[in-house]
């Protein structure tokens, strides 16, 4: 911290001593304690001024011409649509989780009509507004919508491109990805 040139300088506030440096900060109006009366008064005035400003802002807002009924309605519809989408997304997510679980069970080959259950869940998802999507063969891998679950070796295809969609992905009309499409990508040996 110290340097040769710094040693030469001696300019400091008058009466300044190391022990006084801390107290010099205390003597100003910037610290909390011990606060002289004048500071308290200043603070009180400042608080009152703040309150007055807030009140003024409130009054100004009240005096503003009200927005047109059409604008309010549009805003409400917009808000409701957003709220509805959020609620639907939550429902979709639970249905989707059930679907994934049942698909896994179905893969075990148990003697139940799993296909029927899967079909019904698929229909429910569609009704709720979930949009199924798949990756196209030779598409580039996109971390926003794909997840790699396997590899394929196709010497004719470029390295890293998608060879197969193993499980479809789902998204909502708002664009929220509920499940990424599980894909197998090409690895050229």
């Amino acid at each position: 911290m110290k340097s040769a040139h710094a040693r030469k300088a001696t300019d400091a506030p008058k009466k300044q001593k190391p022990a006084q440096t801390a107290s010099s900060a205390k003597s100003t109006s910037v610290t909390l304690a011990p606060a002289p009366r004048k500071t308290e008064r200043k603070q009180a005035v400042s608080d009152i001024l703040g309150e007055i400003r807030e009140l003024r802002a409130m009054v100004t807002k009240l005096l503003e011409p009200p927005p047109s009924a059409q604008a309010v309605l549009e805003q409400d519809v917009d808000s409701l649509r957003r709220l509805l989408s959020e609620l639907l997304e939550k429902r979709m997510e639970s249905v989707l989780n059930a679907l994934v679980g049942i698909r896994m069970l179905a893969a075990t080959g148990a003697q139940t009509d799993w296909q029927g259950v899967v079909r019904r869940l698929d229909e429910l998802l569609k009704e709720l507004g979930a949009i199924e999507f798949r990756a196209e063969r030779l598409d580039y891998f996109d971390p926003l919508i794909h997840t790699v679950v396997g590899e394929r070796h196709d010497p004719a295809a470029p390295d890293g491109v998608i060879i197969e969609t193993i499980r479809p992905g789902y998204r909502t009309a708002r664009g929220v990805v509920l499940a990424k499409a599980a894909v197998a990508v090409n690895r050229r040996k």
Binding site: K8, P13, T21, E136, L144, G160, G175, V176, V177
Partner: protein, 525 residues
């Protein structure tokens, strides 16, 4: 006019808007092969396209890293927010991706611009609708970080209504959650909480008293270099060892990709129980081995990193500020855990072990809690009282230049003014003993018993000001021009310090003899 809360995080940035008492997260839309995709987060990742020289941000930056030939074409500038701690005017970063580096302030300004454009694309706002925002930063953020963050947002066309610290924003969100959005209930709320904010790059802890719509930050502490980034690095190193790869020997791009993989693996622990974490070297083109790291061994390493954070919380709850505010650990309503990294099961486990008599509350929105608090602040009549988390002062020479002394100008714990209040002021007058004044400013987290900066010391601007009226103010000066001048003893010099509501400090030095003065922005450095 749209009112927003923005949480600029190390890993992700989240924006929440205020919509008549509701606080929806603003989605960030990206065009993909299956149509537009919306995400709640805007990744804080910055990637340089070497071919075009353009910077790419957010989800688009993440996507381009998986494209063929990415290593050759793109350079990754990781954790921009962490670099802000060492901001200085003209500071260049990212020399590993481009030899001449990139101007730090310019990169952040472009990032803010890209974020603003993404907000406008969300469909939530009308075209050209002005955005009024409340932005957040770590409680432990130093002056330079505050200065450059605020400036970059402003330069990108984002109007700033107010700023607040991340734990304070989470406290506001917590109170809203306690009141369940009911304003009458919110007005009667009485609580004292400790916010434990473990994010991607920083750790902050604040003790906040809630008295209806009034929030008072009683005390605050933090660790600058503790967060998810450090956890990712440890895991990436262990995964590399497991497949017999030297992590430090990897090329920057490979290292960045391995860190991203480690982050995904770490997040999988938060999502559900896992016994081990795996890494197939082939996935990143690093060979053919498959390695695993037991979660237990990984957590053991993290415990060592987290212990100082738990200790900080302990000291804060049992500290002098808490005592003088009449807060004891048994009076605490809760320890509120926020930040993406607090989702790791190890974190609440360690806290529960240390604080047996305090209720732990895990947020259900670890990524959006801070932005939501900021959005509530932007819209509701919340009154927040924040404090300076670091002491700001100047090194002077005392006893005729025989030794240095530290003169604290604004001490840590000083109440910060509200935006509508006048800023903090501090005035010093003295008669000089040299022709040129050499003022060395610094910030620190603590001052020891001898009055010397002791913790987290960061040195800012060295200012050379001509005390001698014969030297015009604004002249180019060097320290070796300083000579003793006893004949200047009858001259007077005045230093006026101003600390604004965001804790950003400016100083005006004036020669009272001829009235010449100069104003310096300290943290511009």
């Amino acid at each position: 006019m749209a009112r927003l809360g923005i949480d600029y995080g190390t890993t992700n940035t989240v924006v929440v808007c205020s919509d008549r008492g509701r606080y929806p997260v603003v989605p960030h839309i990206t065009e993909t092969a299956v149509g537009p995709v919306a995400r709640e987060v805007f990744p804080s990742l910055v990637v340089l396209d070497r071919e075009t020289g353009q910077l790419i941000f957010g989800s688009e930056a993440e996507r381009c890293l998986t494209r063929p030939g990415a290593e050759k074409r793109y350079g990754v500038l990781g954790s921009l927010k962490r670099l802000l701690r060492d901001y200085a005017d003209g500071r260049r970063v990212g020399q590993s991706i481009v030899p001449e580096g990139l101007d730090l302030a310019a990169v952040l300004r472009e990032f803010c611009g890209a974020l603003r454009a993404s907000i406008m694309r969300s469909g939530f706002f009308a075209e050209n609708e002005p955005l009024e925002t409340v932005i957040t930063w770590p409680a432990n953020a130093n002056g330079a970080q505050r200065y450059v963050t605020r400036k970059s947002f402003k330069d990108a066309g984002v109007e700033i209504l107010a700023t607040l610290t991340e734990p304070a924003a989470s406290a506001i969100e917590f109170a809203d959650r306690l009141a369940r959005g009911n304003r009458a209930r919110a007005r009667q709320l009485e609580a004292s909480i400790a916010v434990f904010d473990l994010g991607g790059g920083t750790f902050d802890v604040s003790l906040v008293r809630i008295h209806g719509p009034e929030f008072t930050v009683v005390d605050t502490a933090g660790i600058e270099q503790l967060g998810g980034d450090d956890f990712d690095r440890i895991l990436a190193q262990r995964l590399a060892e497991a497949v017999k790869i030297d992590f430090d020997g990897l090329r920057p791009f490979q290292r960045a990709m391995l860190l991203l993989h480690a982050r995904q693996q770490k997040e999988s622990i938060s999502a559900g129980p896992a016994a081990s974490l795996t890494f197939a070297a082939d996935d990143l083109g690093l060979g053919s081995g498959v390695g695993t790291v037991p979660v237990k061994a990984y957590f053991k390493e993290l415990e060592k990193l987290l212990e100082p954070a738990i200790e900080k919380l302990w000291s804060l709850i049992n500290g002098a500020a808490a005592r003088s505010a009449g807060i004891q650990s048994q009076d605490l309503t809760a320890i509120y855990l926020v930040g993406g990294s607090s989702k790791l099961p190890l974190v609440p486990k360690m806290l529960a072990r240390r604080f047996r008599d305090v209720r732990l509350v895990m947020t259900d929105k670890p990524f959006t809690s801070t932005a939501m608090g900021a959005a509530i602040r932007s819209a509701e009549g919340v009154r927040l009282q924040e404090i300076l988390s670091r002491t700001f002062g100047v090194l002077r020479l005392a006893e005729h230049g025989t030794r240095d002394c530290f003169d604290p100008i604004f001490a840590a714990g000083t109440r910060l003014p509200q935006r509508h209040e006048s800023p903090l002021r501090h005035k010093v007058r003295y008669s000089p003993r040299h022709n040129i004044g050499h003022l060395r400013y610094l910030e620190c987290a603590g001052v020891n018993a001898a009055g010397w900066p002791s913790d987290g010391v960061r040195q800012w601007s060295d200012i050379l000001f001509p005390y001698d009226p014969a030297i015009p103010v604004g002249s180019r000066l060097t320290p070796d021009q300083i000579v003793p001048r006893d004949d200047l003893a009858d001259q007077w010099v005045e230093e006026k310090y101003i600390c604004d509501a965001d804790g950003v400090i400016t100083v005006t030095i004036r020669r009272l003899s001829d009235g010449q003065s100069c104003t310096y922005e300290i943290f511009r450095n």
